[in-house]
Assembly symmetry: C2
Homo-oligomer: 353 residues x 2
């Protein structure tokens, strides 16, 4: 806010806002925030996309899963990422390979859980991809299908039941409901958001909008975390609240949603899918892994053509035999593509059925 006093001081003392900010920055007592590092570690096991979770044993009443996490300590950790790696190894025994930062969340009130008197925490979410073979040294934590937390994202067997049965009617009701606190009542915007996020009214389902959908469900009070954080829940409006996916600790489900959206987007333009594959694989196995991440089935022949013509893979010379049919050639990732400028991803479109 630009107050008169501020402007006056600025022009008379010659101290700009930026300098004031700097002065505030060197005052150590201003430091009252804590940074949490959180890892969504993703793999694919038996064509199922999974994430590494750690069960919260202390809170046995409502034992919920959470992501591996820990506070960032600028003393112990040289970088944010090295801090994350240290925490994950500490908690699970797993040494991470591919890691990328997702987003930093800082909303007040989104980190609470019952009887949690922690100070304000800013969460930095990370995405890690790993191959199951590299995860043999896992000591703690367990792999859970990510659709357990987001059942409405699982379109592998067509449109999920939970969407038509539970989610869509409640969201439609929420969109129509009068907006209370905020002055400009705008039910139109709510309706539009619902339509775009969930592809209603003939709209297409965008598999990348995982976070948008979760945030909408949170705002509408339809997920457990919203109730936990003390938001007006769906039940307070006379709508029976269903259980929409398993809840997670803190804002971990939001971080996982961001992770899923990011992977789904990224495999299309960067060859990150191979972080999830063993060294040698058949093209069909590769396709199955892509489908596990993206959802719908892909056109097999075109998938092969795209992957091969993009130079993403090269044959090993071996074949894999127990496939129940003609033996499949084994391929490996052509690491050289990383050196050939815009290293592509598996640009795939689902089959229209």
């Amino acid at each position: 806010m630009v107050t008169d006093a501020n402007i006056k001081r600025r022009f008379h003392d010659g101290e700009t806002g930026a300098e004031k900010a700097l002065h505030a920055a060197v005052r150590p007592e201003a430091a009252n925030v804590e940074i949490g590092l959180n890892a969504a570690i993703v793999a694919v096991i038996d064509d199922e996309p999974v994430v590494l979770v750690i069960r919260n044993e202390t809170d046995s009443a409502s034992a919920t899963d959470g992501l591996p996490f820990g506070p960032f300590s600028p003393v112990a950790h040289r970088t944010l990422e090295s801090g994350l790696r240290a925490w994950v190894e500490e908690q699970t025994g797993l040494g991470l390979g591919y890691v990328e930062q997702l987003y930093t969340f800082g909303d007040r009130g989104r980190h609470a859980e019952p009887a949690d008197h922690s100070p304000h925490v800013v969460s930095i979410g990370y995405l890690a991809l790993t191959e199951t073979g590299h995860a043999r040294d896992l000591q703690h934590g367990s792999w859970r299908s990510w659709y357990q937390f987001f059942p409405w994202e699982d379109w592998r067997k067509g449109k999920p039941e939970i969407l038509s049965a539970e989610i869509e009617p409640r969201l439609k009701e929420w969109a129509q409901r009068p907006v209370l606190r905020s002055a400009p009542a705008r039910p139109v915007q709510r309706e539009d958001r619902v339509r775009i996020c969930f592809g209603l009214d003939g709209g297409a389902w965008d598999e990348e909008k995982v976070l948008d959908r979760f945030e909408l469900l949170y705002e509408a009070g339809l997920v457990e975390e919203a109730r936990r954080d003390g938001r007006e829940s769906a039940s307070s409006w006379g709508v029976t609240a269903p259980r929409l996916g398993a809840a997670m600790r803190f804002d971990h489900r939001r971080i996982l949603a961001t992770a899923i959206g990011r992977v789904r987007a990224k495999i299309k333009y960067r060859p990150v899918i191979f972080e999830l594959m063993p060294d040698d694989f058949t093209l069909f196995e590769l396709q199955k892994t892509v489908e596990a991440i993206l959802g719908p089935h892909l056109h097999k022949q075109n998938f092969r053509r795209l992957v091969e013509s993009a130079g993403l893979v090269e044959p090993t010379g071996e074949v894999k035999t127990q496939t129940g049919g003609r033996p499949a050639k084994l391929f490996r990732f052509r690491r050289e593509v990383l050196l050939e400028r815009p290293a592509p991803g598996v640009r795939v479109k689902p089959v229209r059925s």
Copy 2:
């Protein structure tokens, strides 16, 4: 690190790493980090891409520009983004429109400036887009061409002189130089990185790799900030150090590099370019704005076709007359595209010349 003691404690006390992390999280004395909110506010003035900077008056010896910034206070700010908006308004008088989070930087030592005894700071960078008309209420700070800080990114008049004359020979030298500290000497990787980032040896220049290029120059000790942070500078190797673009305070140039890369990528798949345009504009003005951001010239006829066929704009019915030729039809942004699912960007390819 998984120490024996840790494993033992885990299995015997039943306290997992995650719980330990939680306990650490509720200890307030662990909070010794500060979060800096930084804004790269971008506009286009007279076909020149500009960024809002604030000159550091106190340090008159080496007065450097910096981005608007301020510490995040969980007491005063409800969210990270609202904290950023407050700081920017406080320091510049500008109310921001479009804002998106870029990245969170936390490397130790990248935040220092001479005689700076501040505690460890984690920087969250934000990108803001604004139209010059909305920026009339600007009270502090000034617009600077972003190419002032990144002259090697300015390909509007062909390949910049500074690349062949200054940067490329020094980077080649750096790539060949023996790596000292790290055990595995791998000059190959350095060479590859240089080749990919700067499109050497027949490689294509990727206009989105702005951050990668800056990081490489920093690592090679070729930018002022590297010297300031006490890294081995190019001059210590007997190479005369040129001035590669204007330096910025703290890690602000890194944040700006991230911002430029993000805008360049994003206008291709989201209609964010219109955040930089006035309400009414001609298609040629739109093209000029896109070219200001992206660099090379676009094919005019195809640009028009793409923009119109994607339904991004609609004619206002008016024409603009002082164009020095046939009057140009005025268009406005079709806001409805935001409601039509995958809202597209201006997918453009430069003309091959």
